[in-house]
């Protein structure tokens, strides 16, 4: 345990009491209806200690990135470069920028009973603090890499990050999760955007195939702030990525897109809660998934518009391709509307590749396999091309491409066996 301050200890203690009493959520809890978080025995994984031996090196996705490296939840490498005035990137120990941390930590995502965020609040041992001061635009992207390293025995860790962008500030955050072996990563990222602040946020979940990944991201948007996020999930054995966004200031804008590729026995869950509490907010969500083999996809998206949030414009769309007989998709888009002058909608589709499009390509001399591949790539490409930063887009697309190739290969083998 790193040296902390009394109030941080208190936060730990309170959260621990809450999460111990309630335990892990089960499928009887409505929000966990489709994902059995306890199924793989994570409750008994021992906490990871300080990483021993040599540190892994992870090449940054963009050459100018300010990289932070967490190994098994503990912060190992901080960027050495000199930071612009008003920018703080450091350890979340409650001492650095104490007032700021105290004002936001555990506030964006309160440690509610029976939540994985409460478990994190009770157990996180180390973390990252990023602050971008008022009016500062941080040109270089911040890249937070969480690496899980499990040897023979499984282990659990709970990375924690707090990112505060003050009024009028702007930044880009790249978040990566990867690793090897069997581990349970339960991360929490809290983001507070001041008035007029903006953040681009690219997340790649490419965990070890044996990993259980839970991530809870909370975003608080003040008036006129903007959040644009991209969430790509390809890794882990079982994953649940939860995003809680609160559009609390007038005219805030929230955009979150997601792409995921499941194969084998993977279980990939994307859950979002977007709450509009102030007028004139806009939210957009587009999630696209491709599921092969016996993989299981889940999309749950709640959009809540409170009475004061007139003139809200909210839309959400989830589209899934099922490539195999055994793949499964569960969707639960949800609208909860209490204001009348709003434009809200959601859509959800599940199906196979469009036969007409396939026929069109084949009529142009493209063989069936290639045509399928093209259509699947194009299906996800729609989402991936929204990544503004070119090197990030290329890197994310490459990971997705590899996964699709893997899925493609297994299907061919299956077809072969069937044939």
């Amino acid at each position: 345990m790193i040296d902390t301050t009394p109030w941080l200890d208190a936060l730990h203690q309170a959260a621990r009491v809450r999460s111990d009493a309630a335990g892990l959520p089960t499928r009887r809890d409505e929000a966990w209806k489709y994902t059995d978080i306890g199924a793989l025995g994570v409750a008994s994984f021992p906490l990871a200690g300080r990483p021993q031996g040599s540190l892994p090196t992870v090449a940054p996705l963009t050459t100018d990135a300010l990289q932070l490296l967490l190994v098994n939840g503990s912060l190992q490498v901080l960027p050495g470069a000199e930071l612009p005035a008003g920018v703080v990137i450091g350890r979340l120990d409650g001492k650095a920028s104490a007032e700021l941390v105290e004002a936001h930590l555990g506030k964006v995502i309160p440690a509610e009973a029976k939540s994985l965020a409460a478990l994190n609040s009770g157990l996180f041992d180390d973390g990252v603090l990023v602050r971008v001061g008022a009016g500062v635009t941080l040109e270089r992207p911040i890249e937070i890499v969480s690496v899980g390293q499990a040897g023979g025995d499984p282990l659990a860790f709970h990375p924690r990050c707090l990112l505060v962008i003050e009024d009028g500030g702007a930044a880009t955050l790249v978040e990566r999760h990867q690793g090897s072996g069997r581990y349970f990563s339960n991360s929490v990222l809290e983001i507070a955007l001041g008035a007029g602040a903006s953040l681009r946020h690219y997340t790649l979940q490419d965990e070890s195939p044996e990993a259980v990944h839970v991530a809870t991201t909370g975003i608080e948007l003040a008036a006129g702030s903007r959040y644009a996020g991209m969430l790509v999930q390809t890794g882990s054995r079982l994953s649940r990525h939860e995003t809680h966004a609160a559009l609390a200031g007038d005219g805030a804008s929230f955009e979150l897109d997601g792409a995921y590729v499941g194969a084998g026995k993977q279980h990939l869950d994307n859950t979002t809660f977007v709450t509009h509490t102030a007028p004139g907010g806009k939210s957009r969500q587009l999630f696209k998934g491709v599921l092969d083999d016996q993989s299981h996809g889940v999309f749950q998206g709640t959009v809540r518009v409170e009475r004061a949030a007139q003139k809200t414009d909210a839309h959400q769309l989830s589209k899934t391709l099922l490539l195999s007989e055994q793949a499964e998709m569960d969707g639960k888009p949800e609208l909860e509307i209490y204001a009348d002058d709003v434009k809200c909608g959601h859509g959800c589709t599940v199906g196979d590749i469009d036969e007409t499009a396939l026929f069109y390509l084949r009529a142009r001399g493209i063989d069936a396999e290639t045509a399928r591949q093209l259509l699947i790539e194009a299906f996800l490409g729609d989402v991936l091309e929204k990544i503004a930063a070119e090197p990030v887009r290329t890197a994310f697309a490459a990971v997705v491409g590899e996964c699709l190739k893997g899925a493609h290969a297994t299907r061919r083998t299956n077809d072969h066996h069937q044939g």
Binding site: A327, G331, L335, A339, D340, H346, C348
Partner: protein, 480 residues
Amino acid sequence: MDGIEQVRSLTDQKYKYGFVTDIEADVAPKGLNEDIIRLISAKKGEPEWLLEWRLRAYKVWLEQTEPNWGKLHYPPIDYQDAYYYSAPKRKDGPKSLADIDPKLLETYEKLGVPLHERAALAGVAVDAVFDSVSVATTYKGKLEELGIIFTSFSEAVKTHPELIRKYLGSVVPYSDNYFATLNSAVFTDGSFVYVPPGVRCPMELSTYFRMNAEKTGQFERTLIVADKGAYVSYLEGCTAPMRDENQLHAAVVELVALDEAEIKYSTVQNWYPGDEQGRGGIYNFVTKRGACRGRASRISWTQVETGSAITWKYPSCILQGDDSVGEFYSVAITNNFQQADTGTKMIHIGRNTRSNIISKGVSAGHADNTYRGLVKVLPKAQGARNRTQCDSLLIGNTCGAHTVPYIESRNSSARIEHEATTSKISEEQLFYARQRGLSEEEAVTLIVNGFCRDVLQHLPMEFAVEAQKLVALSLEGSVG
């Protein structure tokens, strides 16, 4: 805004059908226990197996808990503080319409269901349920010629026990859910329809029933079986007298469609919704489910829900037969303090099964209107298709509209499409209509009628007029 004023003045319109008929009721003591169930069964002269079935349900019910997942808020229901049996008093069974208590006939007159006229004019056979016992069945003769059985449930138990025994609880088991289980234990009457193979029922079958005696929960049981290649269209419409205390209503409807059979079930629900302060009103907890058991069978639910303080209702289709089709068309309008949590379940089991869902919710006043639905495609439902459209309209900023769809697909060849929107009547639309000389109220009625059109057009002619009037009436009282 004069719009708001208009809402207020129109909302104050009183419930048109609020009157209580004074008929001496044959009432069992208050409360629920095994003896009451034995009494109900004995009063109806039921066979032993049915009594046992009821008692089994009762035992299960004692162990069950009331569901609380709906977006509904109401004070706890005291199930011991209600009467479970009441029947209009009579010496012998009525031989003809002339034998029926004239007051009862008067009630129907007020409701606009003049039995004798209706029978003659509309060609509609009416199995009228007054509280709990069927009092008149018309057009029986004509239906009998075709071999169609349309009778009260209690009579069917006596005359066609083999059919009842075969199908009762085969779609909604006696232990299905809290309210259906309660119904299984204490149901008093309802309707039974059997259409033999290849027969197309030449008229719309209709039941008008209304709750009457004070504090009598109503527990109907409806069972409709369409044998191979048969067709039947069934209409259910209800109004209830105005009353201060909440009344519990827990009906069960079971539909069975065999090979190539089709059942069309239409409901207009206009029970007392409570007053402007949310006092009183019917609690409506209904289990409706149809089994498309045969190949290429079809079940279609159409509902117009404008009444009740609480509506908890999910007419569903189990699409077992290959190529079977399930449909759900719903308009739900809530105003004042009404709460509706309604929707459907489409369970795709057979190959090439198709389902279509259109739901239109209109919420006004302090009301909450929730669409809750499930589309589930099981692994063997090769080529299944679903299309769902849920639209909500909010009128005023003190109400809520919610959409909670569950979509579960386990077959890659299945195609599921769900779409939902929430909006208010646009200023442009209103402006356009008003510019052409319509009053604001007329404009709103027109626009909302257009909003509901996709559903209303699925109602049979006999109901379309009443339904449109009802929508308009509810709108007049709720839109500005």
